[in-house]
Amino acid sequence: MEWPANGSALWEIVGLTIRVTGTALLAGSILGIPLGSLLAFTRFPGRRFIVALVYTGMGLPPVVVGLVAYLLLSRSGPLGSLGWLFTPPAMMIAQTIIALPLVIGLTMTGLEAVDPQLRLQIRALGADRSQEILTLLFEARAGVVAAIVAGFGGIISEVGAAMLVGGNIEGQTRVLSTAIVLETRMGEFEFALVLGGLLLSMAFVVNVVLMRLQHRPPYWPGR
């Protein structure tokens, strides 16, 4: 890519970044919030072991996720027949795996921080199971949104998995983080910085939107 870059190529990279990260975050949240709720609200044999696994997963190196996804999706791997290696779906899967433990773990701790008496009170007021869980998720919304923010933070800037399973192919699997690596290696530091600025701006906008979902009631002076 030359500097100044071809505008359409740049927006293609931005578009693909939004598509891959957005899909992975959505999938991570759709799976992670119910699983985090399950771990917060139920007690079963082996739960502590699963929680330990989730906490370990929160520090999972993206490059390791990329390596495993690569081996699964490579032609000789168990999912090789899908033909997804070096395609956006492979990047989405890898990023979902990175985001998932973050969303599960932080949703669980957010829900566990809700006053246990409130849970009893909600049931005493006649909530059914789904109303109880939705109310508690709403009460723990600051924690749940923090879980989504952490999941987003874990994938928007990762390079290892995107590079391994995406291959950084121009016009096909090149996203902002992998493009920054490439431009830096080529000595195009100015352009790499512009891409970095774009990545940060995207992260800022998404976080501002997510913070609005955390919305707390306005301050009311105590008496």
Partner: protein, 240 residues
């Protein structure tokens, strides 16, 4: 004789190895005000959770309107009863939203009834205030309004005025009395306060170490209690 509203038989509740409640028989009639007294750890709150069908007994059976209660208790059964706890657990929302919460769960109209209760409990200045910033008395009034909005058949109150000053205690007690006369709701109140027990009770049950040591009409309980621990409670002495 008509069927009792609640009929508890051979109830046992234990947490781990520790037995917390053991009641051979307790019946509660419709429209009566039963006050449950006893020292801390006597099993009063556990009994209230059983009466709200929030948890099953380990042994024994509970009949409601003559029908054996299955567990988990069906939603329509649970929705006829509600509890106001000693520490008002309010949602992190406005006062209005807290009062309307139970109505929303039942998909019932909220505005008129909630406004009425806001006025009646002198909460109109606080309607839009976040519940997290209320004083103890205000929070307890909101918790009571939230329960009253549901017009329950049975209202369970777990030391509803324990943390309140005399003004708020009077306000809450006045409402409880109005509720009895206007709605003829069955009222089950846990209290440590012998004077409050006198003011509210049709009948008094005293729990001690998980067992019912005396159940009697209010007049008899306060005039001639049989159990020495009940007598000590009536005299205002400390019961360990």
């Amino acid at each position: 004789m008509s069927e009792p509203l609640f009929d508890l038989r051979a109830i046992e509740v234990a947490y781990g190895d520790r037995a917390v409640l053991s009641v051979d028989r307790l019946t509660i009639s419709e429209h009566e005000a039963l006050v449950i007294v006893g020292p801390n750890g006597a099993g009063k709150s556990t009994l209230l959770r059983l009466l709200n069908f929030l948890e099953p007994p380990d042994r024994g059976e509970i009949r409601f309107h003559g029908r054996l209660v299955p567990y988990p208790a069906p939603l329509d059964l649970r929705r006829g009863v509600t509890t106001v706890f000693q520490r008002p657990a309010l949602l992190n929302r406005s006062v209005f939203e807290n009062i309307a919460y139970g109505l929303r769960l039942r998909r019932r109209e909220t505005l008129l009834l909630t406004r009425k209760l806001v006025e009646r409990l002198a909460l109109h200045d606080l309607e839009r205030a976040p519940a997290a910033n209320l004083s103890g008395g205000e929070a307890q009034r909101v918790a009571l309004a939230r329960a009253l909005a549901l017009e329950p058949e049975v209202l369970l109150l777990d030391e509803p005025t324990a943390n309140l000053d005399p003004y708020n205690m009077g306000l809450v007690e006045g409402l409880i009395q109005e509720l009895r006369t206007e709605r003829r709701c069955t009222l089950i109140v846990v209290t440590h306060n012998v004077f409050q027990a006198r003011r509210l009770a049709d009948r008094v049950a005293m729990l001690h170490e998980g067992r019912l040591i005396e159940v009697a009409g209010a007049a008899q309980f306060f005039a001639s209690p049989r159990d020495p621990r009940a007598a000590a409670f009536v005299r205002g002495e400390l019961v360990a």
